[in-house]
């Protein structure tokens, strides 16, 4: 049975509200149309309801399936990010880490002999921690023009960049800021900044690499 545009629209309206992610929505929509097109019975919305109930266990079943899917995809991306971070120092980008280490050493050395202004370092670290977020927001709202539904990959990316910002802010609040919980010397603060810069370098590069090379493939 070939469905008319009006019937297709009716189906879209019926199922649109349930799936949270576009991957699930597309798959559900395609499945329903395939099932309907394979029968000779005249179209009725009850047939769609029957497919949803019978094949997917109702809208509740779809939501449960989607949650499982989202969790497994997020776990997969997390593994990929950790793997990328672990492999980072084995790759040619290790050169930038050596340069950063050298700059860090120079900064620490000068902090031992003269007063060092920590404010620019603090601002730089905060800005660095925002890079994955800026990258994510740019990809999601500027590059990705599909505003129909959220892609499953954004859930992971959103959580990951927020976690990065949270960790940096927590460390700043604990050790570095004016009213920090722990009172540490300026030399120690320089060491914290250097360590944060190194970790952020690793995190930002891995985040972007995973996004560009792996996530796009997985959710193609």
């Amino acid at each position: 049975m070939k469905l008319t545009e009006e019937q297709l629209s009716e189906i879209r309206v019926y199922i649109f509200g349930t799936p949270r992610y576009r991957e699930t929505y597309y798959e559900l929509y395609d499945h329903i149309l395939n099932a309907l097109e394979s029968t000779d019975e005249p179209f009725h919305l009850d047939s769609v309801k029957h497919i949803v109930e019978e094949d997917f266990g109702g809208f509740g079943g779809i939501v449960i399936q989607e949650e499982i899917y989202q969790k497994s995809v997020t776990a997969k991306y997390n593994r990929l990010l950790h793997l990328e971070m672990q492999n980072f120092y084995k790759t040619s980008t290790a050169f930038s880490t050596i340069v950063l280490l050298f700059i860090g050493y120079m900064l620490y050395n000068s902090s031992l002999t003269s007063e060092i202004n920590l404010k620019p370092m603090s601002i730089s670290i905060m800005m660095l921690s925002m890079i994955p977020g800026a990258y994510y927001l740019f990809k999601r709202f500027v590059i990705d023009r599909n505003k129909l539904k959220l892609s499953i990959k954004y859930d992971f990316l959103h959580r990951t960049w927020m976690l990065g910002v949270f960790i940096v802010n927590a460390i700043m609040g604990l050790f570095v800021s004016k009213n920090s919980v722990f009172d540490v010397s300026n030399h120690a603060k320089v060491v914290i900044f250097i360590l944060l810069a190194l970790l952020l370098n690793l995190y930002i590069r891995s985040f972007i690499k995973v996004y560009n090379r792996r996530i796009r493939i997985l959710t193609a």
């Binding site: 399936q65 497994s72 997985l218 193609a220």
Partner: protein, 113 residues
């Protein structure tokens, strides 16, 4: 008849990997119809079990996905990844061994080589 969930649990991944090894790429509905056709309607693969299994295999890196626009709608295709090809051989052998043992335990006549 629809195969009972308990029987399907252990074999569904093997069935999916094997089907995808025989076909370059397949989409969800096509898989259900293929299972129905091969078993002459004796076994019905329910979508409530199919999609979670496909998604799990995808997340484990055993399947790769691609999308195509067909009749003005997005269709998601699944195909075996390199890891999936390796895993398919292992799972197929496991299933054959299991069936052989089952035949022994249930005193069934052997039908598989």
């Amino acid at each position: 008849m629809a195969m009972s969930n308990d029987l399907f649990k252990g074999t569904l991944q093997t069935i999916l990997l094997n089907l995808l090894a025989q076909n370059e790429k397949m989409y969800g509905y096509e898989i259900t119809q293929k299972v129905k056709a091969i078993t002459q309607g004796e076994l019905l693969l329910k979508e409530g079990a199919l999609y979670p299994a496909l998604h799990k295999l995808e997340a484990e890196g055993l399947l790769e996905t691609s999308t195509e626009v067909v009749d003005n709608r997005v269709r998601k295709y699944y195909s075996l990844s390199q890891d999936g090809e390796k895993e398919m051989s292992n799972k197929l052998q496991e299933a054959k061994d299991f069936i052989s043992n089952l035949q022994l335990l249930l005193n069934l006549k052997p039908t598989l080589s």
